[in-house]
């Protein structure tokens, strides 16, 4: 079965410093991978997605993620954190490789940004 592991439940960074949120996946085929963000009391918003094209994926708000097959990782990064980045982030893998399969969510990483 496909799964994702978010290696940190909570990450705290200072404003202006880099962000790294770590995600490892397990999949028996070439996966589709996603990162979602959830701000307090808001719905989930797609940050970026990987679907077997370029391994470095750029998303919204300056975030990017790199697909590394050899390491089974899909870490999310941002060069410089902003206060508005404080939120919960979810790494997600497709449960199958067709359009009729659900997504499998990690347990989330809460990002705190300190002024």
């Amino acid at each position: 079965a496909q799964s994702v592991t978010q290696l940190d439940s909570h990450v705290s960074v200072s404003e202006g410093t880099p962000v790294l949120l770590r995600c490892n996946y397990s999949s028996s085929y070439s996966p589709s991978l996603f990162w979602y963000v959830q701000h307090p009391n808001k719905g989930l918003q797609l940050l970026l997605k990987y679907t077997s094209a370029a391994t470095l994926v750029k998303g919204i708000n300056g975030f990017e993620a790199e697909f590394k097959k050899s390491e089974t990782s899909f870490h999310l990064t941002k060069p410089s954190a902003h206060m508005s980045d404080a939120a919960e982030y979810f790494c997600v893998v497709s449960a199958g490789n067709s359009g009729n399969t659900p997504l499998v969510f990690g347990k989330g990483t809460r990002l705190s940004v300190i002024a």
């Binding site: 808001k42 719905g43 067709s98 359009g99 659900p102 997504l103 499998v104 989330g108």
Partner: protein
């Protein structure tokens, strides 16, 4: 813009009541999903549907049922609400087809069962 709407943001029900949560999407998506979100557990899939009148169990279907009579509407039903069903419920939709598409989420319904 894709819009997924849920019938209520906040709901308080009593134990044993039958509860209906409604979800509507306006993008003609084939797939619709119901999740519950609990602190430290992430999102867990309850049921999903990839076509009208079709449904598939997710990871935690016990105590829930669903209905999809029209393409744009997907309802989650708690037959007899219990306190352990107090949670945030999220609806999502996506295109179907040959490969996985991203899902679009509604704002959520925070259900409290007392």
């Amino acid at each position: 813009d894709v819009k997924v709407t849920q019938s209520s943001r906040y709901l308080v029900k009593r134990t044993g009541e039958k509860v209906f949560l409604e979800c509507v999407q306006d993008m003609d998506h084939e797939n619709m999903f119901w999740y519950r979100q609990d602190p430290g557990l992430g999102l867990r899939l309850i049921y999903f549907s990839y076509d009208v009148k079709m449904k598939e169990k997710g990871d935690i279907p016990e105590g829930y049922s669903v209905s999809r009579e029209k393409k744009e509407r997907f309802s989650l039903i708690l037959e007899s609400a219990s306190t352990n069903q107090t949670s945030m419920y999220l609806c999502a939709s996506s295109f179907g087809g040959t490969h996985p598409y991203e899902q679009y989420f509604g704002p959520g319904t925070r259900l409290t069962v007392t």
